[in-house]
Amino acid sequence: MIDELNYSLPSNLNDAYSQLQEIHRKPLAGATDIIPRLRRTKLPIDTLVDISRIREINFIREHETEIEIGALTTHSEITDSALLQSTAISLLEASASIGCQQTRNRGTLGGNIANASPAADTLPPLLTFDAVVHLGSLDGTREMPLSKFLLGPGKTGLAVGELIEFISFKKLNRYGLAYVKSGKRNGMSIAVASAAVAIALDDNGRIEDIRLALGSVASTALRCPRAEKILIGKPLTKTHFKKAGEIVYEDISPIDDVRASASYRRSVAAALVMQVLSIAEGRLN
């Protein structure tokens, strides 16, 4: 119950780690949904460790070949970042598409990743960046590719006492990036499907590298290896975009729920794939 909770507001990572040693202690980042959830249901939580004041993991850093984003960076900070505007536009688009201004101001990148919702907006673009998750705890740090970190709805590779410190990815200077999503108006506000892409061309104008990721169509956000493979070496034509859409339609197996039927999700995902590819195409050079 809310009445029996404890709360702490550590100001550095070490304090946070020492306070997170038990399973019923829950790190609180943006806190965009925990208070309503606590009011609604009994959660196995006895202590809220509010990590929002930890400055060490709120940053957007540029290295020669890499970008690093601290876990406590908010969606608004991502949206306002000139660096990410020029190097990770699809992540920016994903953050900008999240809920309302009030939520974007508080919701964090780390929180979006750790909640591991199949519909989490930032995951498809991060998957197309081949992002790496950097975890910390009292025992030190470790890192994991994001694609391995995501295990299922709400499930991740995060251990008890561990926090996401930051994510990193290699700069994609030659790539065209894009993110799109589609909602259903008479359902919940969460996307029916979303898609992100990163494309690079070779000197002949053919696709040299392509990374395509989808949200809301499986238990986690995921990449589409078969569609990627078929596009490698191909020119950017509507026919090939359509082919990629068709493969995605065949390969995914989304669920039926209140928001949308599985078949509708598949056709929307296919349409989004075509759409995201043509947006990314327009952003090459």
Binding site: M1, I35, D50, Q102, T103, R185, V258
Partner: protein
Amino acid sequence: MTNKQMVDFTVNGDHVSLSVKPGQSLAELLREELRLTGTKIGCSEAECGSCTVVIDGKPVLSCAFPALRAQGKNVLTIEGLSKLDGNGDTLHPLQQAFVLYGAVQCGFCIPGMLMTAYALLERNPDPTRDEVHHALKHTFCRCAGYPTIEKAVLAAAKAMRNGEPVELPELPESKWAEQVVGRVHVRPEAVAKVTGRALFTDDLKLEDMAYGRAKRADIPHAIVKSLDVSRAKSLPGVLAVLTAEDIPGDHYHGTIIRDWPSIVGVGEKIRYVGDVVALVAAESNEIATQALELIDVGYEALPIVSNPVQAHESGAVQVHDKGNLLKHIKVRKGDIDHGMEGADVIMEHTFHTATYDHAFLEPECSIAQLTLDARMEVFVGSQIAYEDREMVALALGWPEERVRVIGMLVGGGFGGKEDITGQIHAALLCNAIKRPVKVLYDRHESISYDVKRHTTQIRVKVGAKNNGKLVAVETELYGDTGAYASLGEAVMTRATTHSSGPYEMPHVKGDCFAMYTNNIPAGAYRGFGVMQSAFGVETMMDMMAEELEIDPFEIRRMNALHVGSVTNTGQILNESVGLLECIDRVEDEVKRLAGDTPFVSHPVPGEPNKRRSWGIAAAYKNTGLGGGVPDEAGATVELFEDGTVESRTSSAEIGQGLVTVLQIITAEELGMPIEKVRVLLSDTDLTPNGGPTTASRQTFMSGNAVRYAARVLRDALVSEVAEKYDISPKLIQFKDGCIHANGHTVELSELAQEMKQKGLDLRAKYLYSAPETKPLGEGGDMHFAFSFAVQAAEVEVDTLTGEVAVLNVIAANDVGAAINPLGLQVQVEGGVVMGVGHALTEKFIMDEGRVVTDRLAMYRMPNISQTPEITSIVVEEKVAAGPYGAKGVGEVVLVPTSPAITNAIYNAVGVRFFEIPVDQEIIARQIAAKS
């Protein structure tokens, strides 16, 4: 056992230091501990935006923000907005603009809306329209004057940039404008609403107040076999647990039929998930909530019926002992068989409309307290104060004189605050523990258990001549009134009588079966059944037009009701039928915007997957109760010695602008400045009964009552002055707060003082009775006035995903006379936006009697970014009995929107809808199947 911790922060410039519980939200802390009640809680699920405050420059949803996290922060609430310049009385330009533009209606969302807009302008002093939409996207306003809100924000931004006063809005005045009537006046309570000072029921915290909650069955159909409240009673902090046996008076309530149990007893029947089996009063809402879980109830589950058509079949599960049929409603005119025989073309289709939630942003709240002289006072934001008094008295087993209902502001009603919610429960608990008790629904309770719009099935069969002239319409409706009657009979009667549309028709046969089921009860909801049947008949009108190759405007024009027409209930329309003018003016405007072929599908440049087109629909809606029910409203008008006047009636201001209307009328009648008129509403001890705030009737009914009461007062003043100066009453004029009599000028204040000294009464009363109406089936005038409307909608459809955006709506409404043009503008906008929601986004879903959409996050009402450009065309065909010619408008604005949109979708992509809300999956699938 709580683990309270200290938190220090700054609120509106003042440092505060408080001990709080870790799970407590900042909103609760602000409201309950600091008593800054301007910050509203609409949902407690970070969804509606009403609780928005600004923390260190950024807008934050305070209902989801842990209070302890405010440590060291700078919090700005609505109460601080007007004193940012160090002068507590100066409104911020945003507040000024919201007042001047009429962006404030019920006012509940306004603090959150203003704080969101404030944060936007701090960051971006010159936002575009799209940037305003993006920033305000998740701060909901159900009154939904979004276009006006947008204009107000942009006007405030401009004023702030230039350091100049806020520019006044441009709005046409009534063509029948008088001195005060028909001109632009700001809402008198707007300043209180933009500063956070306006009080809604939950903003009250009485001394020694306890908190009440209801234990709901959460099973749709069952017999209560056992009930054990002992564990709940022994929880520390619990003050009382009441069961059905503890009700001293009548166990049932209901607006027309008293069939709704306040508490269901052991051995009695649960008929829907929201039925109550026990009430708890406790020292806090949290303790009361915990106690609910300690109440043990045993049920014998019964099979359920969840569909009105099945409920009508023989052998269906019986919801009530008297059966499932609430009412079979019949409309007959001419000879339907003969009519159909004479038709060249006959078309028939069956339509379905969904269940819709009112989704007013202020959740239901009632507070009851006992006075020293053993009377029960109930504070509640209700649409029918006198009926609440009657129901509370019946439940207590007391005479009505011992109950006083004190109406608070209503944070949106739309018909959803006509039925009893917590009023009786609060009074029962208060009477049991002899302490004030607050019963506040949380959003989950409001959405899961309170009345909804009737889900309706409508079969429409239309016969027409080849030239487009309609000859016969047969309709059959099934309305799902849920577990209890509420206003089901009246709602479905209106649905049926309006089911053949606003058209002349020689032969009509309408049948409606209003059915009980184990679903959530359905009651009054803006449009009152007419919204549902209009979807059917207006879709059929377009289908018939297509079949006969006639223009959609033309088929409506050639069949439209006009002066001299006889309605399908046999009423001769003698006056005030502005339908043809609505059709003509909408057609002109559509063609001005879209050229001569608005109903053709157009591609969208640069967007190969999108198509656009327009669609139209027409509607009419009665003003007032009608159907032979005596319709009355009382008012008192009193002159004070300072020259001010107070007008009083028990009618509700639910955002529609009634206070402004009554103020305007009083000022007009007494020739005085509008600022000197106060309006007091909804206090059963102080205000005469204005009747229910329903059926678009208050401008007409309470407006007339106040108007005639003001005339009685004026006559008394005239005789006094005539006698004093010995002149003919005919020479006496009222102007600018003075009485002018043949060269003499007397100020109202002066005259009031003189008359007071003589012991004369300065109060005038009037009981207004509307023109008599006849019951359905007897012919004659079933209603004393009808309003008419035509809307055209332009949609853009994504052919791959099926998504629909409404780009433009042109709405013409015949309102008789526009008494309050500023209020009318936002009523039109709000009705259209609600219609967009009903057509596209909103759907309350039940599955086998259980509520699926039990949170606001699952019930999608339109936000500002889904709001079309709205053009309001005001048509003013006066009705003789109306005040200055006015008739109702609150409902008719919503009625044609849904079919105009679905007709536009058909014109854009060829997909016809027989069910709303539109399912975009169907659009995508049908388009894919065609290509």
